[in-house]
Structure formats: structure tokens, C-alpha cells
Homo-oligomer: 345 residues x 4
């Protein structure tokens, strides 16, 4: 039997626990240590997933010499510091998206990774969803010809916690939600975004005004190769979690997404009814699992990351441009932003 890759997990919030459970059930990995800044449940949770070591300090995980790969699932504003520290240890790093909310922090991460040659994979999990993977294959096979238009809808079924909604915490609506769509846009269209323009507003949850965020936005995109795009994000799809992407090409089109969660149609005099995908875990639970498998196997086989820090930087830049376009009510050329300081890109 093949040896299991020894891993550590930093951050045991909702998402950290999800990664931990996936890793605990995975034949090719074993969890050696976990940490979470909030004391209390870490010891018990460590026992549940079979991790012998636990701590309130992430440095303890990084210092554990048995560990070969570390999952950084802590709050976004701690990512840069932890990644820089981790890059000194030689461990491979998986970091949940976004790795940072500013280009400056991202460039600091890039510099640290380059200095030490550390492998970092970024958690854009949609790239591991069966629907998006199948769509990418169709594009690569030329089934729809040359992609001309990228469309994406990302709608959440509730107003987020007001503190989380702040731009400085989650990035706000556009960075928090549309970042997945921006990543898909680059991946599917195989071109960088050149220009963005955003209309947005607070239409359903006025309380978001108190923290400077909005609840709806439509973002037009022009790609470097002339292709077009639009991303819509919303907090008020009270009917469920509505995630859809379309790619139109010169020879055909692709639609990714679905509504029905349970395979049951109920037919009465009131019509034909089915349920709706409730939220993230139901829609993308398997994608998270696939992504973790992918990362573990890349580390074991000494491969390049599936999504790297430069993908994270380019995607962040689209989001920052979309926010600036909204703030200043004008189209924003992404050339307004500096290129990465990394001369190797």
C-alpha cells in the first residue's frame, strides 16, 4: 500500500472543517495536525478526524516536520502572512480563494513563492466540477468553434452577515461572489479581460448600505481578443442557489448549471413543481472533494498546481476593475493596474 501524504490544516471554520472531513476520508492522505485561532472545539474536532496534533497557533502546523502539504483555510486577511511563512518551510500549499484582496499582498506572496520555489494551488473549485470540466473539454475539442461570448450568473439565496459583507473582509459582493466567474471567464475564453463596466445597487437588502456594500451587479467585459462577457451577481435569489454559465461560440453553445436538486416532479392542479438547489455544498460538495484529491495527487507526483498564483492575481484584477467601474461609473481598462512584479510570468 502506498504511503499517505501527511498534511496539516490551518483554519477550521465551516470551509476548513469541510476540507478536513474530505481529507480524513481520503485514502491518499492523512491529517497530522490542525490549528484554529479560536480555541474550544479544535481538540475535539482533531480527534474526530483522527489528527494527533492540534493548536491555536498556525505556526505549530508549519513547524511540524512530518507535514508535507498544508491547507490554508483561514480568513482571507490572514492568507498572505501564513502563505509567506509556509513558503519558508518547503511544504506545498493549498489556499482557499481568494488568496488576497489586494494586488500588493498578492505580489508579496508571488515574491515569497518564487524565492523558495514553493508550490501553491488556489481554490477555484469550479474547475473541478463535472459540468465545468466537461464544458472545458468541449471548448478544447472545438465543438462550439471560437468562443465569442461568456455569460455567468451567480446568485446567493440570502443576505450575508453584515460584517462579512464589508469590502475589507470578504471583498464585498463583486470580489466575494463574481471572482469564481472571473476565473471561469479566463479559463474558458483563453484570453485576458481588457475592460470592465459595472452597474450595481442595493435593491433588496438596504442594510448592506450601512457597510458600504451592494446586493446586485451586472458586469460587462471586453476580452483582449475582442470577445464579450457579462457576469451577474446577486444576493437575493431567495428561491435557491442559482449558478449558471454559458459560452457562445461561432459554431455552437454551452450551458452549465441546473435547478433541480431532488429527482422528483410533483404534479398537481397547481402545476408541476420541483425543488431547487439550496446552497453551496449541495451544488459543489463533490467539486471541493475532487479539488482536494487533485492537489494531494499533484503534491505526491511533484506536479505544477492546477491553478496558480498568477491565475489568482489576474482574476483579482478583474474584480478590482469591476469595483472601480462601479464606484466611478465608467469603463475601466485593466491596463490601469500594474503588471505583476514577477518578471517570470
Amino acid at each position: 500500500m502506498k504511503a499517505k501524504l501527511p498534511v496539516g490544516i490551518i483554519g477550521l471554520g465551516r470551509m476548513g472543517q469541510l476540507y478536513a472531513r474530505h481529507l480524513a476520508a481520503m485514502p491518499e492522505a492523512r491529517i497530522v495536525a490542525v490549528s484554529d485561532i479560536v480555541a474550544g472545539h479544535t481538540e475535539e474536532f482533531a480527534a474526530q478526524i483522527g489528527a494527533k496534533n492540534w493548536s491555536a497557533n498556525y505556526q505549530d502546523v508549519l513547524d511540524n516536520k512530518a507535514i508535507e502539504a498544508v491547507f490554508v483555510i483561514s480568513p482571507t486577511n490572514t492568507h498572505a502572512e501564513i502563505i509567506v511563512a509556509a513558503s519558508e518551510t518547503g511544504k506545498a500549499i493549498f489556499c482557499e480563494k481568494p488568496i488576497a484582496l489586494t494586488l500588493e499582498e498578492t505580489d508579496r506572496i508571488i515574491t515569497a513563492l518564487e524565492k523558495t520555489g514553493t508550490m501553491l494551488q488556489v481554490g477555484f473549485m469550479r474547475r473541478f466540477d463535472a459540468g465545468y470540466v466537461a464544458a472545458k473539454k468541449q471548448i478544447e475539442a472545438g465543438v462550439i468553434g471560437k468562443p465569442t461570448t461568456f455569460k455567468s450568473v451567480g446568485r446567493d439565496p440570502f443576505c450575508p452577515d453584515l460584517n462579512y459583507a464589508r469590502r475589507e473582509v470578504s471583498g464585498g459582493l463583486i470580489l466575494d461572489m463574481a471572482i469564481h466567474d472571473f476565473d471561469l471567464a479566463r479559463w474558458f475564453m483563453e484570453s485576458e479581460v481588457k475592460r470592465v463596466y459595472t452597474e450595481g445597487g442595493t435593491l433588496a437588502f438596504p442594510q448592506l448600505n450601512t457597510v458600504g456594500d451592494i446586493d446586485n451587479a451586472v458586469i460587462n467585459m471586453l476580452f483582449e481578443n475582442g470577445a464579450l462577457g457579462n457576469v451577474e451577481v446577486s444576493r437575493n435569489a431567495l428561491y435557491g442557489y442559482d449558478i449558471r454559465t454559458e459560452v457562445l461560440g461561432t459554431e455552437g453553445g454551452l450551458n452549465i448549471g441546473y435547478y433541480r436538486e431532488t429527482p422528483l416532479l410533483v404534479m398537481t392542479k397547481q402545476g408541476v413543481t420541483h425543488d431547487m438547489v439550496p446552497y453551496l455544498h449541495e451544488r459543489f460538495g463533490q467539486a471541493y472533494l475532487n479539488q482536494t484529491h487533485d492537489f494531494i495527487n499533484r503534491v505526491i507526483n511533484n506536479q505544477e498546481p492546477a491553478v496558480d498564483v498568477h491565475d489568482a492575481r489576474a482574476t483579482l484584477m478583474i474584480g478590482l476593475g469591476a469595483i472601480r467601474a462601479y464606484d466611478e461609473a465608467r469603463p475601466v481598462e485593466l491596463s490601469e493596474y500594474p503588471a505583476s512584479s514577477d518578471s517570470n510570468v
Copy 2:
């Protein structure tokens, strides 16, 4: 038995013949006279549909005193002249969309109609499609709460005739196709559009560059009440006629549109396949018929038009703004355009 409304038809192109066939089969109307500037087939076609009078000159139809309502289905650049002439005769007028390609012509029509008190209904036939009608009812019933976002996709399965594609003939991609979506936007959102921004390009049919048109556009909209919108139009949906509209609200959402034309699923090792809506007539044939019934009955019952000239003007203005936004690569406030000269609006 109720007397049949005597009608005349001006213009017997593809659409004019469609209206003629619908009227010929309609118990509440009878076709008295038709005209088409192109000689040759008019006499034969008149016989087929049971019209006793035919002419190459539209004035002959207008001069026919037996006729109470006239259908203007001639080329767009003749609409204004014919409507103005018709308004002198006291006949009710149905005019296929768009009634004009400029605000100046539209205002000339408005002045003529007001002077004579003539009834004019404009051919935005989607308002008579069962899906859109049902959606409007759901909005009015408050099922989705307050509408926050309007989304529309209009994709044609081929490149149009190059001469037709010119802006001065059909209005070009944005006026020719998106005008239906702009009309739906005003109807569903119950708010005027305040600002538009367009990205577009010639991505599939480079021949369109020779006549100054494009084949794809994404148009962001901000409504007066703060709501958001986006309309996508394309010429390169080679897979079929793809017409869809969504309205998101504070309590739910509506999706209008469909893909499958024939109710057959074919299941083989290659997957599950069905056909696609081929084009306009398959998708909206019934809506055109419903619209003609509606107009005839409004004339018989002396009612206001379902869609009037002010709707046509407001919709045209959105389209002109969207074109200007593309040409000048900047958001266009619709307040840049003059209000209608009609003081009664």
C-alpha cells in the same frame, strides 16, 4: 353573426404575408384590399387570401373607404410616411416594429396621430406570447416581489443579408434585435431606463464590418428606479433561435424561454439529444396571431392600443443610447436625448 372588420394590408413581404394569412383565417376580420410596391405576385396573393382589391400603391388602400383598419408591414424606412398619410383617413393603424429608426421621424408620427386622434398599435409581438404574458401576470401578482434585475438573450442562427444589416436599413444588430428586449425591459420592470453601456464586436461574421455592423453585443442597463439589466444579442447561435428572458425579484425569479421544438428525446450511447427551436415563426407564430386578434378586437371595441407610439419612442431611445454607448465606449445617460415634443405624454 357579428360583422367582420374590413381591413387593408400595406406591404406583402415575408411578414406581410404572415399577417395576411392570419387575417384571412380570422372570423372577426375580412381583408378588403392589399398593396405591395413590388408588382407581380400581389394579384395572385390577393386571390389566395380572398382580397378583392390589390394595388402597387399604398395610397389605394388608404383611399378605400370600406376599410376601417390598416396594417403597415412595409419596409421600416416607409413607415413614417405611410402612418402620417393613414392618420388623415381615420383608419386605425397597426404598424410592425420598429415604427421608425430616428426620434425625429417618431416625433413626426406622434404629431400626426395627435392632430387626428388616430389609434396606432405597435407590433411588439412578444407581449402576446403565452410565456411573456404569464410572466407579466406573475410580476403583477407580486410573486417575485419587487423586480431587481432584467436579463435577456436574443440570438439568431445566421448572419443577415448584408444590405439588411446596415444601420440605416434595419437599425443594425442592436436596434433590429434588442428592441424586443428593450420593450420587455420597460414592460416587466415598470421603470424607464436611465443609462446604458454596450460592449460589442464582429466576432463570427467579418463581412458585417463592410456595412458597419457588428454581430454580438452585451448591453448593461440601469433603470430609473435603480434596478439593473443586461441584454445580449448575437447573430451566431448556429444551433438555433435562442430567445430567453429572466426577471429576478426580491422574492423570487422568472425564466421565460425554451430550447426543445419537437417533444422527442433520442437516447443513444452518444448521449440524450433533442432538437432546437429553428427560428422566429416556430417560436412566435402564435404570438403574431394573438397580436392580430388583439388589435382587431381593440378596433372593434374602440379601445386604446395595447402598445402605443410612446412605448415605441421610449424603446427606440434605449436602442439609440446602446448604439451610442458602443460607438463612444462610454456609459450613455438617456437624458442626453430630448423628451418627446408631445406635451401630453
Copy 3:
């Protein structure tokens, strides 16, 4: 312009009026005379559809020498008499299904038609529905290999009028409803049915017991070539008109049918809802129209009927067998029934 085929219509009930309206709007036919045994509305209806002659006596239609084709849409128990009389006149005959409720009457019709060489087409309109036509083409093209299993569901959304429900009037549940499915079975499977077995009962509308009918049945079929089948018919699909057919083959499968009538999805916290096909006309209106076009053009072009009296006889025999199987609670071999007396079959 081509001359229009002069036709007569016998029977102006709900279905007769439907045929009349289709014929009135059809460029290749004109209605010369109509008759209905119930006086009162015939004259007015004749005027509406432009028929100059009307009568309470079907013989008046048959005696009209100008008429070349006659539509028999009268009650089933009058079909045989009218067809036999019509066959003496040399007119082509279209008869709504079923042409008779007994093999004896059917054989009398066959004898009359053969003596005079009259063309009779039987109204199995599903053969003219776009979905079933497309399915037949897929089978003929070999897409699903050799058909192994035929499945059909036919569900009505209400209990019929009790008098109509009697076996001697409509044939009862199995003959009235499943006869369409039996016709499709022979058409798709290209094999005659060898044996049937029926389970049935009165499960939703006990009032049907008073007239000797049932409201639900499932009918197993074994075809001559060894293929299998099952037909379900029901009166209690209160949610709508549920008509579906499947064909499984050695290489694939076909599913024909649909639920949604209006292309609108309504999404709320209660789930995703759409409407349902309400009833016959919404589902098969176009098929009836196509069928009438087909018959008219066959008469004009002197062609064989699309569905002939032998199809009607073979289909009736399956239905009679299914009823006997239910009555006697045993499998019924269709060889229990005599072959047609027609030696030319």
C-alpha cells in the same frame, strides 16, 4: 392559382367544428356543405366558416355532386352507416377514430369500400404530431436498433360524461383512450400484437361503476415478433393531459411527450414551478391540422390513405382483446378473433 378541393363535413360537434375551422382556413380546400343532426346552430356555423349549404341530414351532403371529399365526424355509432352510404358516391372519405366499435361493423365498411374502390383515411392524428413523426423517422433510420419494448401513457384530466363513458357509446376507457396507443404500437413496432393482458379498476370515480366502465388500466402486450409492450390509461390525472410514449430498442431509446405548456419557470421559496399541458387541443391541435392537410393533399394527388381501414381493424382488435382480458382476468390471444373477411389484406 390551384383550384380548391370542395369538401363536405358531417357532424359539427366539438371535433367537427375543429375540423371545419381548420378547413375554412386552408388554402387548398373550400367547404361546400355541412350537416349536423342537431338543428339550431348549423346555419350560423355554416355562415361563419363560409359554407353555402347546410342541413340536418347527412345525405344532403353526400348528394351534393360538387363535393369531392367528405369528413365524417359524427358520433361513432353512426360511422358505419354513413361510410357505407358515402362509398356509393365516389367521394373520398375521412373518418374520425374509431370508425366502429365492433369487428362486424368494420368488416361491413371494408366490404363497401372494396366494392366501390373508395379511399378512406382514418383519424389517428398522433401520426401527424411532430414528436411522433420525428420518432418514427429515428426508428426507420435505425438509430435505436431493433425496437424491443413499447410503452405508452395516456391520462385524461377528468372523468368523462357518464353516458359517453359507456362501452357501447365511446368504447369505454380502453377503446376510447388506448386506441391511439395501440395504433402507435403497431406503427412503431412494425409487428402485430399477439397477446394482451389487462389489469384495471375504478379507483378515482366510483360513478363510472354505474355505467360499467373503469377509470384506470394497465395493458401488457406481446407482439408477434416477440417484442413487449405496456399501455397505461387513466382518467384521473387531475394535474393535466399526460400523453407519453417510449420505444426502447437494442441500440437506444426514444421518449415522446412533454409536460410544460407555457415556457415560463416560476422560482420561489416553494420551489420551481411550471404549468402543465391542459388538454387535447393544446397538445394535438397542430396534429389535427397537419392530418387534415395530409388528407386533402392525398385526395388532390390521388394517393393512398396514410392510415387505412385495415389499420383501424387491427387496432380495434387489440382494444377488444384488452377489454376481454380485463373482463375474464386472463391473457387473450388475438388469434381468438377472426381475420378480416377481406381476402386482399
Copy 4:
């Protein structure tokens, strides 16, 4: 942290390994010992799933006093012997369906369980699928009124191994496949089956004739309460794994099942295509996991089984009746079979 239930697994074929992997990843259980009669891989597999004990002899698992519950996932013809032996040990038993292929063996199991008061749960995993669970809830809530008709389709995408296909090994087509549908029939209709009639044949895979099995069957059912049913099973759905169930009631209907596996529509000039559910694991993987959770928690909480040996017996009887009906080409009353010897039923 709660103690984990110590379990043993007997049988490590394809299904046994599936259960083992689910148990290994489950926080509320731990695998103490496994056995498989085929030596070779058992030791390695035991290590993978963290089981300290492994054996070629199931008695070793039964003798392990630390174990509180045992999973019997061995070949069907060994179930009775193992269950009887297990019932002596006081361990709770989970047995994959079918627990036996004869009523005699089933009655032997019943006797053994009763003598020792052992808890046995039977593996009808569809009862743990989200779609079927939701359907059951709708029935219980009265949404469709009184169920009148049960319909089920079960189609496999390939011909089974010829040895497995034998009736004495797997039960043959009807027992192997339709047994799930018979279980659902009893569960949804809340009535026992009274009579069955089967048509069947070897239509796609003639090689099945050499082992006495068939590849297609349609089975009519009459329930004790008068309701109707039909189950179709097939081996030649080469397009995929096609599992669907419908319940029609006096007020509405339910449809359970789906075709699309990956949420991607591909639209080209050839039509709109999506993939199909490939096979068992993709369709019911989660149901198997839910079922294992359910059993473990019932054991921990000392509850009755969700599906017991009497359900297994009644379901087997329907299958045996359906086979006899096919063999003898006659309806079979299930009263032909003896009632369970268990006087407590």
C-alpha cells in the same frame, strides 16, 4: 466525543468494498474486522480502510466479541447461512438485498431471528435516495390523494455476466432487477400485491437463452386494495442507467428519476445534447451511504430496522410470482404462496 460503533464486514466484492469505504469515512463507526472467501487482496484492503483484523472465514468476524454490528455483503446464496450464524452472536445484522432467493430460506432466517431477537436490516437502498424519500413524504402528506397506479422502469446498460444471470445465482432478470421496484411498490402504495402477470423475452442478447434468462419483461400488478401497477425491466438500455418511478393518485402524480448526469448542455447544429446517468454508483452512491448511516444509527440507538425481513419476504414473493407468471403465461395470484411461518407477522 461519542464512541464509534465497532463493525465487521463479510464479503469484499464490488459492493462489499463500497460499504467498507463508506464505513471507513463515517465518524460514527469503525471497522474492526473484515473477511472475504477469496484470499489475496483482503489484507491490503483491510489496511487501506484501517481494519486491524482480516480473514478468509466469515466466522472469524462473527466470533470477534468487540464487534456489535455485521454487514453481510457476500454472494446471495451464502446469506441465509451467515445470517443464521450471526443471529447466534447477538450482533445486529445488515444484509444486502436479496437476503435469499427462496421463501424456504427466508423462513429459515425469520425463525432464527425470532429465536434470538436479532435485529436485521435489508439493503433496499432506494428507500434512502433523496428522490424516493421526498416522494414518500408527498404521498404521506396526501399531495397526490390516494395512489391509484404504480409504474416503474429499471433498465441496465449492458448484458450481465452469463453466470451471474442464472436464476439460481442472481435470481435472473426479474428477481435481480425488479426486486427494487417491487419493494418501492409496497412502500409507496401501502398495499400488498395480489396478482401479477408477466410478458418477457430475450430480445437483445440471445446468449442469455443459454443460461435460461431473458433480457426484457413487463410485469402487470394488481394490489390488494385494487390499485394497479406495472414494472418494466430491461438489460438493453445501451444509452445508460434508466431508473424511473411514477405514482399516480386521485389528486396528482409523482415522477422520480432523471437522465442528465453532468449539468452541461451542448448545443450545435445537430441539436441539444447532454450526457446520461452511466450506472448504479452515479445514481445511487449517496443512497448507499445514507442507508449505512441509517443502519449504524439505528443500532446505536437501539431502534427497529428501516426495512425488515418481512419486507424482504413479501418483496421476494412478488418476484417469484412474476417469474411463475412468465413461465406459465398466466396471471399468478400471490395467495398461491404460503404465508410466512412466523405467527407474529
